[in-house]
Subunit: 372 residues, 4 copies
């Protein structure tokens, strides 16, 4: 079944494997008239690029994006935008070891069971490089959201036991720290923690968080396409994510209703909420407050320490993984979270144009109101 | 946008409001030849029926299901199954109070912002009664899964601070306790906790959990239709759910990779895992272990205590909600979690038939192998 | 696979069989705020109702529609609209004859091959009564289009060899003639032709045509969702249709390009075309001219004359069909064509709101422009 | 709206413009384990390649395909297959003339109305080069169908007034004649007719036909996803097609039911039909006979003769189109028809695996039956 597409109006279709010739994405349904160039996309790809510090994989890829369609004279035409990134640093080595065995925590066994065989080179389609297409498409979504006054910002909230202190939140630190933490003290501690884990040939997990500000109230749909439900799909679909929370998330279960309800109030003549336990979504539809989502990421399954597993012939074996791996997934995945959030929000914003008779009538009765 | 459908092959479309004439569901794509009668569905609806104990709403609805199509001589025909439940206990009272104000924690404000107005009677489409269609469809999915040797079982894991003790897990207790807890001691404590909350005119939250056993390895699709991603959408789309976990969920973030990876081993000649931190899904595809999912549910937003809010004219007001409400959502939502899990699994199982050339060739070259 | 849904934003899901308890439709994605009552829908259902003259089946059904959801205080709420029509005139007779044999021209054999068995009563899901759901949904689409200044009008163009004379086109005659022909002379001849066929225990075919006026230029999408491609699917999906034409259709193949191209010109200060061979669609997108579509309908496969066929045990047999059948499908199918055209156009019009950055920005930057 | 995808399980997403850097397609949902290499695809692309004779455009493109993903060790992995064709012969000339005016019969005006502007170079996305992606994907579908014993074959049936004589049908001639006619006499006449049209600076239309043999009975779905309805969408979506017929198509309307019904009989112990007026589809589901579909194609809208039209400033002007154009679309579009038919059939065949409980149970109870 076709599982590589996401979104209904702004539809993203990704493709590519870790060690194939290239990876990419087709973005169909992008509104016409957006100014777009390769730099807009490259900026986001650079944030997930490997080889940038000692806490990321040693694989070095330029990850240069090429726009192959959908742009004319610097603007989107409304037709599909095809984006391509060539793989250049696939190391041509002997994969026979992982070819015939199942790495713990990886998709090797489940892919084999599904498809009968698998592209084992670097994890194939299940590699983290699959997210290149997501980030390239998300860069476009972020640009559009920006023009609507919506900002989406993701960062690392914790690494292992080390969490940021929200009172020290510093946005600039997200791009400047190696951990993508908005708190330089926490970053320092987290790097030490990571270095310790690397020495132990081990890996660690963490939590990433994403905040969307400026989302108008009324976005999302009832029942199965609730905004939080689509965000949950979008975020849980990122490899290694094992839990997704909206707003106060798991902590709501031990509260009383009187504590957890956000009271409405009037601020500057507008309806607002005194608190935002709900994370900006009520009944699956945005309420005008910040949207807050958290993703819990497991430790990188590839570790250098020896592990017990089985091979394809059914023998129990001891495995020592070689290759180049990140000791933690979170810092490079933060931009993926940001991009998946942006794609989901944009698709819901586009859907929302069609939900009222008054909008529909105005659009077709007085199109000049809406046309430059 | 059409948000009331879920599933690609086994597609469920629900409809109906809390105080409209009826609610229901159309199940399209159900395989032909399944023995099905109203009792199969009624049994599940009865588990979510209100009015069954003092810890649920006083609204009493028989919730009798009627099959309107798709069945011939006791078997499904492969064409859409339409299921209908009439509302009978809508109390015809004065709704003017909530008609003009925004209840904290509810979808009133966000619906108004989206649609320009709303059906305020009992919450309209955002009511918990919306789940009748999900449960009716899920009953069919559960029956099919059962015939494939797959059991899906959901229960209450905690209510407020009171959790079950897994070592005392007793399946029979799920249907016999008022809390749907598989632990009678925890149930006793939880009921006391709930009664205290009711006295305080307040409400409480909790955690529900669902386990699917017998799911073969290889189910689910890479990237956006990962099995855990679709489960996350399915479960987060249940009203009041604020967090979703797969397997060990949030706890993985403080582990090392060497602790969190499940080693593969051979058990009774089959590939198995020594642990199941992953919750039965690796790379978005089932690995043959039990699938485990948890949903964190907020306290019922409707409480009898007075709350501060605003009305449609922009005035801050004090609101005291009347009507009939559950002091906790969890016990009646457990069957909804079970049903959404079953629908998601069945859809993925059906998709999976199409993913290999050898299956496709066998099916068309030797159809007699597959036909009774 | 779920084949009972149509449309992406305005999504229609039909259900029901000829001799089941009821038939119906769920319309999801209807814009909020449309004034709608049962009479709006009943008016369209009455046009396809059987038992109205001697050239239609003797089965008499009131086909009274009931609205079960999605309307509050006389307006659509934006949530799914569920519409129900009870079957009342199923004659409880012995179906054993057609139960065990394959009627020529019918879906009996192909359904058996697909599903392993079938609901043979009155054709089950493949009955013409399946169109009740289409017409009920189409009535809503027509009402919305009407409020946008778009009129959709279908009629009978020919019955057997008897065609209307376009120079005598009289719109009032469509609803007043038994044939739904907009030409009373052609109607008289066609009725005589039909009566002759009835005497011979035979049936006849015909052509129906649909014109949509007022469709703005720019509706439809490139490539696979071209407006004419979606219209072709919509119309070919009506039972018994064997060919679909847009504009001048089949006649274009013997023309030169210089004859077939429609020249652009300026009329009343607007871009227009001097001719409309294209039927209002260029490159899959509306050009502002009338949209014209034709459907070629085969003779009713149920005839009273004896036919050669086979039974389920593989014996060749002679079959004489009993029951109540229309000697021609066209007059009652005209409203189905109109409704399918309207649903397709409306879905494309809704999609179109999302295709430009300037509309998107205006919508979110100045929502007051679009809100009553 | 995303209009560049087709198919539900075997999902094809095309992208690219006439004068952009490249065109391509992503094929998601292709079953794993198919042997596939670039030659399999190139063979089909070569059939639509321009510059092959004096009756096709002078634009010469190698149209070399590159496989970028989804293949490992010569076999499909079940993950998306990305195919790329670079544009190499875009002539960099002055497009200012057509940039500012609306060519008759082309999509210039409708695109401008939809998107606010357009990529006017060579027609942009509305160019016939868009079909490269369809053909590349269709080559894969054809290969799979071939392995199931299904052959799909399209050819030219008529050019202007010159039709093939079915009694002289010679399959080899399809690839050997310049017209793709399976009748060398008709080809000779048609070439003469075409040369005359070229001299007159004009263009001509024609009819193409496609036959699928070996399709088992039972393929397709009721109501909106009828096999003929999806074929109609698929075929009408090919640029310049103005009518689609199934089986005897338009001719059925003047027949009596007794003439048009295909009687069932027993041939070699199997259910068969004595005739095939229905074109292999009854009730939207295949009946085991050959599937026959015809597409009526308008004359190429680009002609060298002078035409009247308007420009973007609203002036009526006289236009003489330059550039390189086919005087007829049909011979190069035949392979597109074949490919769209194959994609539609394959998607329906895949869907069909999921429609019966007995198949589902066999698949999961005895997977070894279906696995090599």
């Amino acid at each position: 079944m076709a599982g590589s597409s996401f979104g209904n109006i702004f539809r993203v279709t990704t493709w590519g494997e870790s060690h194939g010739p290239a990876l990419g994405v087709v973005v169909d349904g992008c509104p016409a008239g957006l100014t777009l160039q390769e730099e807009d996309i490259q900026r986001y790809l650079d944030r997930r690029r490997p080889g940038q510090s000692k806490i990321t994989t040693a694989r070095s890829e330029a990850d240069q994006v090429e726009i192959l369609s959908g742009i004319f004279e610097g603007r989107t035409t409304g037709t599909p935008i095809s984006l391509l990134v060539r793989n250049t640093s696939q190391i041509s080595r002997d994969y026979s070891e992982i070819a015939s065995c199942y790495r713990p925590g990886h998709a090797d066994y489940s892919y084999d069971q599904k498809y009968g065989f698998r592209d084992y080179r670097g994890g194939g389609r299940s590699s983290g490089r699959e997210t290149i297409g997501r980030v390239a498409a998300g860069a476009i979504a972020c640009k559009i959201l920006g023009q609507l006054g919506i900002e989406v910002c993701a960062y690392t909230r914790s690494i292992g036991p080390i969490s940021i202190d929200p009172s020290r939140f510093e946005a600039a630190a997200i791009s400047e720290t190696r951990t993508a933490m908005p708190d330089r003290d926490a970053d320092t501690q987290a790097v030490a923690y990571l270095e310790e884990a690397i020495k132990r040939l081990d890996s660690v997990g963490g939590v990433m968080e994403c905040r969307a500000t400026g989302v108008p109230a009324g976005i999302g749909d009832p029942v199965f396409r609730k905004l939080d439900a689509l965000l949950a799909q979008a975020v849980m679909s990122i490899g290694a994510v094992k839990a997704v929370e909206i707003g106060d998330g798991t902590t709501v279960t031990t509260r009383y209703g009187s504590e957890n309800n956000d009271n409405f109030c009037i601020k500057q003549g507008q309806v607002a909420k005194t608190t935002n336990h709900a994370g900006g979504i009520l009944g699956g539809i945005s309420d005008g407050s910040d949207i807050l989502i958290r993703a819990h990421v497991k430790p990188t399954p590839s570790i250098y320490a020896s592990q017990q597993t089985v091979d394809q012939s059914g023998q129990e074996i001891s495995l020592q993984i070689k290759g180049r791996h990140d000791p933690i997934i979170v810092p490079r995945a933060v931009v993926v979270l940001e991009c998946m959030t942006a794609i989901t929000l944009l698709d819901a914003l586009l859907s929302n144009l069609c939900c009222r008779m008054d909008s529909l009538e105005a659009f077709y009765r007085k199109p000049e109101l809406l046309r430059k």
